[in-house]
Symmetry: C2
Subunit: 354 residues, 2 copies
């Protein structure tokens, strides 16, 4: 019998596989809303029993409101470790939820575009994702989910402060809006440090998407708001979108300059990345992510007409440890993963016919 996670793996991830505005550079947009339910202690203070009953209450609220279609409901402490790793790699749960916590759970739609993490730092983390730059659309989706859930859940709210959260940095709107950007040209041109500094000065945060200290990996950056207090959601989102559009324009200009003025340097970087992905038999996660990043740029520049950019997006997911092992249907140690990763990438790119 297949687990819910196995079922999920057979489905399409809409935010990776579908097209969206500016999706040559903006891979996906995400809104996350932190909420806590009145009458329950915050997760850090609550008993296992309380949190389990909270999960049941949220399940009911999801079902009643129908705010997530055909929802998969998974308690993290009831599934194999590899399955929870898969959920983490797909950004459906947070790294903190893998630790020994009371009753962490997640409820999400088939296409993974709508989800609610339960018993993370806060009771609920309502999350909506879409491909490309679609911050208004994901905000509308998250807001609608929240409204639906609030019909059956009373959220902790203070008229002065707004929504109350475990960590003071989330108080107010409880909103984190973020866009995942692919910035290979700015990386190649050595301009990312300047860009990251500017982002910091504008009150936004930039993080690598594969966890702490992975800023350079795959040239993938998640740009998000830092402050959640004293501003309307729409204003936070507008500010973020404005900065993201500037970064996208900067990346596009840099691609153009590289293509016109440092053509061989650019083609060499992209060509070698493709050659290695297509023909290596051992490849580390780091080299794979960085090579996929260069390949993705090459696809966008028209160098590989038969490679679909969404397939490259999916490879970013597939080369990660848990996905690899799930794909192999067995446990693999680090050296075995490097061999299997190379095999999968070779096969996937070969099937793209280049």
């Amino acid at each position: 019998m297949s687990s819910p996670v196995d079922k999920m793996l057979r489905q399409r991830v809409s935010w990776l596989a579908d097209s969206g505005p500016e999706d040559d550079i903006a891979i996906s947009s995400r809104i996350r809303l932190a909420r806590n339910v009145s009458g329950f202690p915050f997760p850090i203070n609550a008993s296992r029993q309380k949190l389990a009953s909270l999960f049941e209450k949220v399940k009911l609220a999801v079902e009643c409101s129908n705010c997530i279609k055909n929802p998969l409901m998974i308690r993290i402490d009831e599934i194999p470790k590899i399955d929870s790793q898969i959920l983490l790699e797909r950004r459906l749960i947070s790294r903190e939820m893998l630790a020994e916590k009371a009753c962490p759970a997640v409820i999400f739609s088939e296409d993974e575009s709508h989800s609610v993490m339960i018993n993370e730092e806060d009771h609920l983390r309502i999350q909506a994702m879409r491909p490309g730059l679609q911050l208004s659309e994901v905000w509308a989706a998250a807001d609608e989910m929240e409204k639906g859930l609030s019909q059956n859940l009373k959220f902790c709210f203070s008229p002065e402060l707004g929504f109350l959260t475990s960590c003071p940095t989330n108080v107010g709107t409880g909103l984190r809006a973020s866009v995942m950007l692919h910035l290979p040209a700015l990386s190649m041109a050595g301009q990312m440090n300047a860009v990251l500094q500017a982002i910091g000065k504008l009150g936004l945060a930039a993080r690598g998407i594969f966890g702490e200290g992975t800023e350079n990996l795959g040239s993938l950056y998640q740009i998000s708001n830092q402050s959640t207090l004293g501003e309307a959601e729409s204003r936070i989102i507008e500010r973020l979108e404005s900065v993201v559009r500037q970064i996208i324009s900067h990346e596009k200009n840099t691609r153009k300059i590289l293509f016109e003025k440092k053509r061989e340097f650019l083609l060499n970087n992209v060509g070698r990345a493709y050659g290695i992905l297509r023909h290596s038999y051992i490849i580390s996660s780091q080299e794979a992510l960085n090579s996929l990043s260069s390949l993705r740029l090459g696809v966008d520049l028209g160098m590989f007409s038969s490679v679909d950019i969404h397939k490259v997006n999916e490879l970013f997911l597939l080369v990660q440890p848990a996905h690899l092992q799930k794909y192999a249907s067995k446990e693999l140690d680090s050296a075995e993963r490097d061999v299997f990763r190379a095999k999968i990438i070779r096969e996937k790119l070969q099937s793209q016919g280049n």
Copy 2:
């Protein structure tokens, strides 16, 4: 009007393009005989005029004996520098002959298998080359050339010492027999140091083929006799051949072991080399030679069924600076060569259809 060197470049190099025994590992066999002509001072002491008249005398002797068919006769000081570089890269002249010397010249057959260098360290360096391991055959060819020339040239000979030469290390037979070996598996397995030490102890020499200090480049080694005195030619050649056969067998075993026990390591090395050759846009001479070496091993292991091993042999020649510039029909600086080298390799491998 095209120069003799341009004409040569349009012809087939038999020792690279043809098949020979053991030519998966033994690329070519070569015999070189040092001879000096009585009545002429050794080159180091002779006037330009004397050496010029010696060249005329040798030309006549070649023509009368017909020991080199349709010979090309080239005075190095009369051709452009790039053309003499081409002759050097094709091993038809020595590096010393590029320096300011009196009347250095070379006479060679269309297929480059038979040649005579003139006014190098000695008056004559008679040279025969063949593909694969064919020491007896090249010895017979060189011996026949020498016999032919001796009908019209009296060689300096001492009944006690044998043939007399400028450098005492060549006195006696004046013979240097050598085999160019491709030893990528021994290199990968880290066994070349041990092999080189053993070769030294057996009184043989091993050199990189691209000049001093290039031992590791392309895993190509020239194994040759050191001593020329006190032994018959046939005995010198037998000893060399016996050692060469042992090295070939050692390389074959190592390939087998790598293929069976360290399969991914081997495939990864070969696959990456192919990927880089096939898709890079900037490649140094060193990286090209080392990658071609791995590719050549891969072709021998059957990984690239549509790539012809002799085409890879020819690429070893083509990626060198003078050949590249001749191919481009213009002077190229080092950075331009790296770009053009990558282009040529991409094109040649693409036309091989892999």
